[in-house]
Structures are given as C-alpha cells and as structure tokens.
Amino acid sequence: MTDTLNTTNAAQAFNSRRFRKRLPTPGKPRPSLLANTWVLLSVIVVLVPLLYLISISFMTQGQIASGILVPTDPAFSNWSNAWDSAIPRGVLNSLMAAFGGAILTLLLALPGAWAIARHRTGGKALSGLILSPWLLPPIVAIIPLLTLLRILGLTNTLEGLTLVYALINVPVAIWLLDGFIRRIPVEIEEAGRIDGANEGQLLLRVVTPMLAPALIAVGVIAAILNYNEFLFATFLTQSQESQTVPVLLAGMLSERVQDFGRIAASSLIAVIPIFTVAVLLQRYLIEGLTTGAVK
C-alpha cells in the first residue's frame, strides 16, 4: 500500500510545475555538471532527428541531394502538395478510429478490470492470462479478426477498424487500470454497498467518477497506440476513403520516385495532431504509464 502511494506522490511530483522550486528536497542529491551535460545531450539526441524532418519538409529534391542541412530558401510547395493529397483525410480517419476505439476499449475494459482487481472474478487464470495477447506479434490475431469483420459485414470500413482497435487494447487497458483501481480505498465502495447500491450502481456512480483521471490516462494511451498502428490498418482498410495516415505514409515509400520533401511534410502533418493531444494531456499520459505499467 505504501508502495503504491509513493508512486502516486512521485507521479504528482513529476508532473508538478513547482518541482524545480522545491529544491533541495532531502531525497534529492546535489545537481552535478555531468548530469546536466547528459540531460542536454539527450534533449539534443531527441530533437535533432525531429528538426531534421522539419528541415527536409522545406527542401526541394535538389537541395536535399546537394547535402544542405538547413534550407536558406525554404520551399513551401511540399506542404501545399501534402495538404492537397489524401493525407488530411487520412489524419481524420486515424483520429476517428483512434479515439472511437479508445472510448469503446474503456467501456469494455472498465467493468472487467474492476471485477478482476477487486473481486478476483475469473480467478488467477483470468488475471494471469489477460495480458497474454500482448506478448505475441499482433499478426497472429489477424485471421480471427478478419473473420469477425466479415461476419459483421464491416471489412474495409473505418467502423470495422475502430472495432478492431477497441478489442486489441482491452488487455493492456485492464492491465493499466488495475494499478488505479487498487488505489481506491475499499471503504468507499463498502459505504456505497451499505447505502444499498447494487454492483452496477456502485461501478457507475462510485467507482467510475473516482477513476475519471485514470480513464483519461488509459484512454489517451490507447488512442496514441491506435493512431500509430500500422499492421491491422493495412489489412483492414484497403479502400481509399477508409485508409489511415500510417498506411498512406507507407504507401508513399513504394512510389517509384520518392519525393522526400513531400513525404517529410506529410509525416509532420500526421504527427502534429497526436503531438498536440499528447502535450495537452501530458499529465494524464505520464500518470497512466507510471501507475499502470509498474506496480
């Protein structure tokens, strides 16, 4: 119990904007030059590839081949070309499948996660097996999922892909929610029971409101995983109007003449929306990863 509480405090400290001002805390060692240098280096290692991508997106094919790293005469044509292609549609498709799938995942996973974490429903077998689909390459599930979509008549539709995303994230969502559910004091649920709530009302009116931040956290993680997903999307969305943005980007690489600048601009158009979501909901994202993944 103290262990989980500690992680919570840590996550809060990690997220706190006032973190720097609270130095020196007793637990924190004195900052060192070596540490500062290393942090600076890692920021550079993360940023240089991303800045390079931005740089390429403003270069013509000739400029790239001539070995310029920063264009002195930026070419905006790549961006207008990318904007006029199927990419914006792909981004929209990706966003719909990603967030639609994430919301459905939460609806499917929350009752199960609560029953498994609190009441050990399904016993050790269920809690032990729940993460098993995550261990193997996702390709093994492709045939059952295709069969399922064929039965439902949803092949090659965005709805079908959304449903698949909803299903494939349920195991990870249950696993991540577990850490959050264990942090709710049992007494609150007991109080609800004494007040006469049945299990359904308890879940809906007591547990769900308390888990709201956790649901946002796990939902954001699922949405990011969906948005970035490639393998299922290539199989399940062959038609132009249902293709997601990773599929379109991979398709650009198989064109006979690769236009690096346009591919770079398209990649950035794909990345910007999900970066925005992640940065705005950063607090939840971090909490979801740290509370859920290491218990």
């Binding site: 399904g122 349920v170 049945n198 999900i274 940065v279 993944a293």
Partner: protein, 308 residues
C-alpha cells in the same frame, strides 16, 4: 436510491441472495474481457496449432494433416533459424541498450537542475511518433543521397565514400535498432525517473545522518529501491523489441538479402506474400517458445526483486 433486498444486517437469506447477485454482476462485468481473450488469444492459438499441423494456404486452410512435417521444415530451414536467432539477439540488444541509456538518463535527470517542463515534454516525444514515421525519419537520416549521417560524415572527413547503412547486410539491423532505441528509450526514462522520485525521503535522510557517501548512497539505497522498476522496464522493452515489425517494413523490408528479417516480418511474409499459413503458424509457435524461454529468467528475477 431504492434499498435492495441484499441489505447487510438482514436475515441470512436475503444476504446470501445479495452476494449471489453481486457475483452475477461481476460475471457480467468480465464477459467482454473473456470475449476479447477468446478472439485475441484462444481462437488464434487453436487456429495456429491446427494450421501448424496441416498443409494450409491463406485462402484454403487445413487441407490435409501433415503431422510434424511443418516443424521439420521449419527447424531445418536456415532462413527460419536465422530469423529466430536474429530476433532474439535484436530484442536483447535493443532492450539492454534502451534500459542502460534510459536508466542513466533518468538518474541524470534526477540529479539535474534542468528537469523542467520543457525537458520532460521533449523526452516524451519519440514514443508518440508513429513507428512508420520513425522509420521514414531514420530512412532519411541514413540515406546515402544527402541524408543527415552522410552529410555530416562528408563535412568532417571530406572525400570519404558513400556509406549506405540500410543497404549494408551487416549494418542495416543496427540502423533499425537505433531507430527502435530512439523511439522507446523515453519509456524507460519515464518509469525509472518516477521510481527515483518515489523513494522514501526518511531512509535517505537516515543514511545521510549515518554519514553515507554519495556513491554509497546510490549503490546501497537508490539502486535497490529502483531495481524492480528497471527490470520491469527491461521486460516491457524486451517484448516490444521481439514484436518489431513496422520499422523493418518501412526501413528495409527485411533486406538487404534477409539480414533484417526479424520473426514478425518473416511470419508476415510467409503468410501474406507466400500464402503458406502452415509454415507461418509453425514459426509463430517457435517464436512463442523462444519468447517464453528467454523471458522466464527475467520474470523470475523480477519476482525475486519484488519480494525482497
């Protein structure tokens, strides 16, 4: 809210009925999860086991029972053995590199003045970039015609030849690994850094009062406190690396030759390019065995560290 019959304090009958209803609710609650396990785990397992024992194509599975023939083909196939060996080496290499770099960065961040919001956000970015885009990005960096690496080498050592990382049978897998490490090391940083912040200050204060030196503190207090998290992060990283597909698909398509043909890619190629589902299923089973065998020791270490 209506008072149901299962109110505690009532006679034994309604109370038992209440518990029964509660259990019924819980069963209903887990039914979607069980359904998901059936679709994502049980059905694929039965399908794969059946396909591995039969001659199966994509359009026409389970044509005839062939017993262990697929296994014999797979085990004696150098391509499949190489792929499993490559996948294992790749997974361990990438997981060790990510965990080491991630832990060092987390400790540096912990001991740095600059752990502000900007640095935190920047360090989160790589794992939010779609793997397809990471592959494209590192494809550009390694491109022999004006890529970042090539340009930098040219600038510092003029007159050197072209160096195409991803077209080299030895270096291509390292190129993919570098992209993989870039993308997922931030996850290790995040997990370990949070564990470092979560240490109990009382213990550290006590050690300081006892006159422990900086190194002693780190070695005997900090490291044991976060060891469990580091191993857990290693485990997550190992499994992610065993499943690598998108990066290979985008950066090298398994080539040049078969030098980057990791298991997930080989399974995909067997099933959906050669339409031999029997062999694809057999490779999947062999991969499952390999993953289980190599993760069990790591899992046991995790458990021991957790129990201490």
């Amino acid at each position: 809210m209506a008072v149901p019959s299962g109110h505690p304090g009532g006679s034994g009958g309604p109370r038992r009925r209440g518990r029964f209803t509660a259990r019924l609710y819980h069963r209903i609650f887990i039914s979607p999860s069980v359904l998901v396990l059936l679709v994502l785990a049980a059905y694929p397992l039965v399908f794969i086991a059946s396909a591995a024992l039969t001659r199966s194509s994509l359009g026409n599975p389970f044509q005839e029972f062939v017993g262990a023939a697929n296994f014999q083909t797979a085990v004696s196939s150098p391509a499949i053995r190489d792929s499993l060996a490559l996948g294992t080496g790749y997974a361990f290499g990438v997981a060790v590199a990510s965990t080491a770099l991630g832990t060092v960065t987390a400790v540096a961040l912990w001991r740095s003045l600059h752990a502000g919001a900007f640095v935190r956000t920047v360090l989160l970015l790589p794992m939010i970039v779609p793997p397809v885009v990471v592959g494209i990005l590192f494809g550009f960096i390694f491109s022999p015609s004006g890529g970042l690496l090539h340009t930098l080498i040219r600038r510092f050592t003029p007159g050197s030849g072209t160096f195409a990382v991803l077209s080299d049978t030895t270096w291509a897998i390292f190129g993919v690994a570098l992209a993989d490490v870039w993308e997922w090391t931030p996850l290790v940083v995040l997990l370990v850094f949070t564990a470092l912040l979560g240490q109990q200050p009382e213990i550290i204060e006590a050690a300081q009062l006892d006159g422990a030196s900086g190194y002693q503190m780190f070695r005997h207090i900090t490291l044991p406190a976060v060891a469990g998290t580091i191993i857990a992060a290693f485990m997550i990283r190992l499994i992610l690396a065993f499943k690598v597909f998108d990066l290979v698909y985008v950066m090298t398509s398994g080539g040049p030759g078969s030098s980057t043909q990791v298991p997930a890619f080989l399974i995909w190629r067997s099933a959906l390019q050669n339409f031999d589902v029997g062999i694809a299923a057999t490779i999947t089973l062999l991969l499952a065995i390999v993953v289980t065998v190599v993760t069990i020791p790591v899992f046991l270490i995790t458990k021991r560290l957790r129990d201490d």
